[in-house]
Symmetry: C2
Subunit: 192 residues, 2 copies
């Protein structure tokens, strides 16, 4: 694993475990098992490090989503699968949601992080939108798309901040109920 990737994953660890306020160069270096010298040799400054970590997070989830989409038996199965992976269902995805929230909060003060968020977020919206269109819901596909991605991201945020109040079963029931309500269930007929 190249050092840039290792450092970016260290950024995720610190962001997930210690939060944005303690996301310092030294904390990242400690999490990566090196010193600040290596970090500053690989990245010109702290913001560049954050941007690389943000982009790597996007590419990781993108690869996972593409795998799920390719393996799905039908468009509706693919839609459910990629929305399902966006929920916070286990320690891994809980951490991812926390990290995503951290980057979003950090973007307030960093215009380049904001741009990165918008590009990635719009790509995600477009991907889900294409799938929703293929599934052919009764309502406007664009509106349904916004409803679905907002719901998943919101549920992941709530679950990351209060896991016991949003256990996996609750999140999954929410997703399936919404898909059924929008006429996008896997079993034909629209009701579940």
């Amino acid at each position: 694993m190249p050092h840039e990737e290792r450092l970016s994953k260290a950024v995720w660890d610190v962001l997930a475990e210690q939060g944005l306020e303690r996301l310092t160069i030294r904390a990242v270096a400690a999490a990566a098992g090196c010193t600040t010298g290596l970090v500053m040799h690989r990245f010109p400054n702290r913001r560049a490090l954050l941007r690389h970590a943000r982009q790597l997070l996007h590419e990781t989830t993108k690869a996972r989503v593409e795998t799920l989409e390719a393996a799905a038996a039908s468009p509706r199965a693919a839609l459910r699968a990629i929305l399902h992976q966006g929920l916070a269902l286990d320690p891994q995805t809980v951490a991812e949601s926390t990290v995503w929230l951290g980057f979003l909060a950090a973007a307030v003060a960093d215009e380049e992080l904001t741009d990165l968020h918008r590009v990635n977020s719009r790509a995600w919206r477009t991907r889900v939108g294409r799938l929703v269109e293929t599934c052919g819901p009764p309502q406007d596909p664009a509106t349904v798309t916004v409803a679905l991605i907002a719901m998943v991201e919101g549920a992941a945020a709530f679950a990351a901040a209060d896991p016991s109040a949003y256990p996996p079963a609750v999140q999954e029931a929410m997703l399936d109920s919404a898909l059924a309500a929008f006429g996008l269930s896997e079993d034909p007929g629209g009701r579940r």
Copy 2:
């Protein structure tokens, strides 16, 4: 306006305009038009200041929600009204959503902020849940409640980070479409 309240609103301003990373005592004092002396005289430390600001945000939105709920003509109108106020539709609510995200990100490193978030968030969920039950949706009320609050919070987050991609019309269409899909539209019949 008492000084505690003025300082807490200054915390919001800094959080909305400069982000969590620049949320320092000095920045808050500057936003409030005073010095660090006054801040530290009113609050024992920085975390107590953040907690007060977090709680005041909750109480402000709670008061607004109660007003809307009392003024609504029907349970369904009340449900739509209080979900609608949670969206990020104008600079005021966009800032509120940004501040809410900032507190959520800050809660990762602050257990007391986490507790505050959970208490407030569960109260919000309970309030919406009661209203959903009263409206009597076809599906399980608890599941519909989670879907609605997650969707609104997620939409507010997306809109705060990328306002032009989530204009008010899009957010409102999303909300109305979801209420219709769950059989909770204001006009009887369930479809819109």
